[in-house]
């Protein structure tokens, strides 16, 4: 582990100390959980939808280079331009160069996790370009100088009251009535949309055969960001492509129900190229930036490539006991929760804590919830194997060695039973040792006389009882 690596254990312990944030997170996740359950229950064919979506995602992974070429040709044919970036940093410079060359000073942004991955806002700011987030949650986060804590709901960890205080500070005008608060944000944002030199959006699904960037949202800000300013720059990671419009429909069948419990989002936009001759509106320029950032290597790795099926619905976050307890910020990465614990360590920039795959209770709620059929527990297991290969795990090695010798194994337990059956001494002497850490919130029942020593007498007694009954 390098000195600069993120430490999830420390960050999560700190996050757990913040009772207020925990309560907010708890309430919000409970709400999403109910919505999702209601929606999935109302879809008797959810499993079939899921199977179709997995097939579409696997088709993408099987033919990725071909589909990207096709996508590039289609985007070019409808007047757009495609740019490839190998790293997050090079993608951010690329976007900044497009904007600087055109003298852009103000950019509106629709919610994009890829933009977070690029650290784009900081790079734009350094280049003297003002970037304004227009998704309400993302706008709140930007005003507060924070980072998103959830891939779908960036301000999941912020309460209505906190937003109200924030608005009072930033706008000198506030409310605790949600429609009124939204109006306050809109008054500020509407001016930005109209004045913006460019709009940056993400991309949920890119359609190779038509060159279409598909985006799902509930607020309409992404549609405005991609259609109102004279330049539209869409950001995607390379695995977001699907082959056909019909394939996109298959993904759309599963994404909103898994994500927010909706059948369809309020706005579903299909951006296909720039304004054509004779058209009255739409951007004059359209750019599609395709980021790799380690994903080609993941694709080439047969044991891990299935993580690229991910459609970023956030379902695995919403059911993960660890994510639900510690929240998204503790991960120190753009992508938190189960999908993040798999993908973050594999990304070239900001991989987070190298031990992140260990921060898992192996409960498999993630794979059960995943609409794309990703087996997160198996992928995390593979990542743990790769990390463990490079280190010496003394307690585990010692325990495994003992377990190879029943006499030693039983002997060690007997010594413990004799001197410190409830492990109180160990916990007192070494509160930070494994046993001590486990016992902080637990009263250990104690090492007992082994079952194997009781078995013979028990079996005899039971046999007698059984004989008596017969």
């Amino acid at each position: 582990m390098t000195k600069t690596a993120h430490d999830f254990a420390k960050a999560s312990a700190k996050a757990l100390g913040d009772r207020q944030s925990r309560a907010i997170l708890h309430k919000a996740i409970g709400h999403i959980r109910v919505l999702r359950q209601r929606s999935v229950n109302a879809m008797p064919d959810f499993a079939e939808r899921q199977a179709r979506a997995v097939a579409v995602r696997d088709n993408t992974l099987a033919k990725l280079p071909e589909l990207l070429e096709k996508l590039e040709a289609s985007v070019t044919a409808v007047g757009g331009r495609v740019h490839y970036a190998e790293t997050a940093a090079s993608a951010a410079s690329l976007v900044t160069a497009i904007l600087s060359e055109r003298g852009a000073k103000l950019v509106v942004k629709g919610k994009s996790m890829v933009s977070e991955e690029m650290g784009l806002n900081e790079v734009l700011e350094a280049a003297g370009i003002e970037a304004v987030e227009t998704d309400l949650g993302e706008y709140i986060i930007q005003l507060a100088g924070q980072r998103p804590s959830h891939i779908l709901a960036p301000a999941l960890h912020v309460s209505k009251e906190q937003v109200s205080d924030l608005f009072a500070r930033k706008f000198g005008r506030t409310s605790t009535d949600i429609p009124e608060m939204t109006r306050i944000a809109r008054d500020s944002l509407r001016q930005k949309f109209l004045a913006a030199d460019a709009g940056i959006t993400g991309c949920n699904i890119a359609i190779a055969e038509t060159g279409t960037v598909t985006v799902l949202e509930n607020e309409g800000n992404i549609r405005l960001s991609g259609s109102c300013p004279p330049i539209h720059i869409a950001l995607m990671t390379l695995e977001k492509v699907v082959e056909t419009l019909a394939d996109a429909a298959v993904v759309l069948d599963i994404l909103p129900p898994a994500a927010t419990g909706q059948t369809l989002p309020v706005h579903l936009s299909f951006f296909t190229g720039a304004r054509r001759e004779g058209e009255r509106d739409g951007p004059q320029e359209m750019h599609l930036v395709i980021l790799d950032n380690g994903r080609s290597d993941i694709l080439a790795d047969p044991k891990l490539r299935s993580i690229l099926r991910c459609i970023r619905c956030g379902a695995c976050l919403n059911v993960c006991p660890v994510y639900q307890s510690v929240g998204g910020h503790a991960y120190g990465t753009v992508y938190p929760g189960p999908m993040g614990s798999v993908i973050s360590p594999l990304l070239k920039d900001n991989p987070g804590d190298p031990r992140q795959p260990f921060a898992c209770t192996h409960c498999a709620a993630c794979s059960e919830a995943c609409p794309a059929g990703i087996d997160h527990p198996a992928l995390l297991q593979e990542l743990r194997r790769r990390v463990s290969e490079t280190e010496t795990d003394l307690p585990v090695a010692a325990f495994s060695l003992l377990a190879r010798h029943p006499l030693l194994f039983g002997g060690a337990a007997a010594v413990g039973r004799l001197f410190d059956p409830k492990l109180r001494e160990v916990a007192a002497v070494a509160p930070d040792a494994p046993v001590g850490r486990f016992l902080r919130c637990r009263e250990f029942p104690g090492l007992a006389r082994p079952f194997s020593r009781r078995f013979k007498a028990l079996a005899r007694r039971l046999k007698r009882l059984q004989g008596g009954r017969a």
Binding site: F8, A9, S12, A13, L16, R22, P321, V322, S325, V326, P357, F358, A359, T361, H362, C363, A364, A365, E368, P377, Q381, L383, R384, R385, R386, V387, S388, D393, V396, F399, S400, A403, R404, H405, P406, A413, R417, V435, R437, F438, R440, C441, R442, E443, F444, P445, G446, L447, A448, P450, F451, S452, R454, F455, L458, A459, L462, K463, L465, Q466
Partner: protein
């Protein structure tokens, strides 16, 4: 019928009464339990740390001990799931893989054995309690034996099951997780206990010894008057 008892190390040294109840339940089901010598640990701890290399020698020991068993019965979903995984730890062309597969195929979690193998759900057990079921993640999602637990409990006379608000939710143990991330583990088990308390149950029942230890010891620290019982204890009733 005869069955070999596969007793997890946690049951052997910390929860021996779960082993006793398992024995009693098997006898009640007409099975003659045998306890083969030399059992230690299935290697789950090392496996979840990513150290399959340390599990392989333990898997070889296990297969040797149990290869002649007509059936292997274990009062733990997670240890059973570990044994079921053994074949995958050996290369396709390793002849041991087939041996491991044969033992894995005849290894069952207690509830699974009774329901799927013996076709029994009603053991004539009686247990006058209002209880909540904690369907352990390893038993339900990983091993797929959750419905067996439920079917068996449904036939216990006197037992009233009350639902938990989030029945599918993990208890936060996760083996080494509870040691590596004690604060997160504590927060998760605290929520589990809150759900149990809110359910109004007098007891919580689970088919997994590690969840049992985790929940019971965290409840004991809080001095809560709620009992934590293994499925086998409920099924054994007054049998031992």
């Amino acid at each position: 019928m005869e069955a070999f008892l596969f007793i997890p190390c946690l049951v052997e040294h910390v929860l021996p009464h779960v082993g006793e109840a398992t024995t009693a339940v098997l006898v009640r089901a007409g099975v003659t339990p045998t306890l083969p010598k030399g059992q230690t640990c299935c290697g789950q701890f090392a496996y979840k740390r990513g150290r399959a290399d340390l599990v392989r020698p333990l898997a070889r020991r296990f297969v040797e001990i149990f290869q002649d068993a007509p059936a292997v019965v274990c009062p733990s979903g997670s240890c059973t799931a570990m044994v079921r995984r053994y074949p995958s730890l050996f290369a396709e062309d390793d002849p041991f893989r087939e041996q491991a597969a044969q033992v894995a195929a005849k290894t069952f979690e207690l509830g699974q054995f009774l329901v799927e193998r013996l076709g029994l759900t009603d053991l004539g057990a009686r247990c006058d309690l209002t209880a909540a079921l904690h369907g352990s993640c390893q038993t339900t999602r990983v091993l797929g034996a959750g419905s067996a637990t439920e079917a068996l409990l449904a036939k216990v006379a006197g037992l009233t099951l009350v639902p938990l608000a989030r029945p599918e939710r993990c208890c936060g143990f996760g083996g080494a997780f509870s040691i590596d991330y004690p604060e997160a583990s504590e927060a998760i088990v605290a929520e589990k206990i809150d759900d149990i308390v809110a359910s109004g149950a007098e007891a919580v029942i689970t088919a997994e010894p590690s969840c049992l230890l985790n929940i019971a010891s965290a409840m004991a620290k809080r001095d809560l008057p709620i009992r934590a019982l293994h499925l086998a204890e409920v099924l054994a009733g007054e049998g031992i």
